[in-house]
Symmetry: C2
Subunit: 204 residues, 2 copies
């Protein structure tokens, strides 16, 4: 793909007699990154491809993003829904089942879910992406779930000596595991079984 | 790195007047793949690098391996310990805690563990690697754990309506999740807490 220099702006970069404002360039880059990610996945995602799609130089992209992975995450999040709320019905089992089921619906069988696992994959060899992913994607979502568990502990519904973070790992982590290493189907029934087993225990 | 053609064998390929036997070439390729993986990780792992290390052409490698990931997995497994046995003491809680703790020890803080997560990462954009990884790495290990759970169900120690596969996901999956997305420390204490919470349940 041709790489355009800063001195010869891409036709899309012309706006009257001047350059596009920085915010507009940034938005174009994110939109191009998102589109490339959804059409090609991480396997076909390149800085060159995004530069070409947005009509900017690779140099411009490297000014703002430290790696291909960092750009991919920003492109993904720019069009992703906000962190979903975690409604509190007072019934922690029902709330965990609903939230975990919604996560499963969101990540299975959609391009968005495919991109999510590819970002996690890329993060294994891109420490900056891994850190950004924890901070901006899984972190806020985990916090909401852990807070729901703490509220239920405060109401005496869950054991106080169980670690809320470990509970999140045994629910969401089990789903990520099936998403990344698909030994079995990742379904809403599976999500419901995870909540049931963990809350009541599997000891006979 | 220079790529050697089939018609001009690398000096290491000469053995008397003939070529190395295929089995020997294959072993050299696997040893070179393993060495490159442990020294550079998946980020620096290339077919060229392995070809160079083993003194063979890229063509030879492509005859046997369909992708960089497939070669990396074979290189990794060629030097990996066999699937660990799953001893049966009669106490399922103790056995699960010991096995999960051993897994955590194996994958944390070692080059081998780092390579493992990088293979899982690469598998997200390499379907052949993903399939091979499930079949040859996680599959046999999961089967042993699920069989231990079934034996405990047979002895009346675990609930019969709990799915052994889901139990494996809630223990090993939670550890993989922390390994791949390190929101919290992956320790033997964490592993022990996972077993304890799942067996007794977290409902107050």
């Amino acid at each position: 793909m041709p790489v355009l220099s800063e001195r010869e702006p891409h036709p899309r970069a012309r706006r009257g007699r001047g350059r596009r404002p920085a915010a507009e360039v940034r938005a174009d880059v994110l939109a191009a990154a998102n589109a490339l990610l959804l059409s090609e996945g991480m396997g076909g995602f390149t800085i060159e491809g995004v530069a070409d799609g947005a009509g900017v130089s690779k140099t411009t992209i490297y000014k703002w993003w430290s790696s291909k992975g960092a750009l991919a995450l920003d492109g993904y999040l720019s069009a992703a829904p906000c962190t979903p709320a975690f409604p509190d019905s007072g019934d922690i089992a029902a709330d965990l089942t609903a939230q975990l089921g919604a996560f499963v619906r969101q990540v299975t069988g959609t391009a968005v879910g495919r991109v999510l696992v590819e970002l996690v994959g890329q993060a294994q060899t891109d420490p900056a992406l891994c850190e950004a992913f924890l901070e901006r994607y899984t972190g806020p979502r985990r916090r909401l779930a852990a807070e729901a568990v703490r509220r239920a502990q405060g109401r005496g519904q869950l054991r106080l000596d169980a670690d809320p973070e470990a509970i999140v790992d045994q629910l969401w982590g089990a789903c990520y595991y099936r998403l990344l290493l698909p030994h079995g189907p990742l379904t809403e029934d599976f999500a419901a079984a995870l909540v049931k087993d963990l809350l009541r225990g599997v000891r006979a």
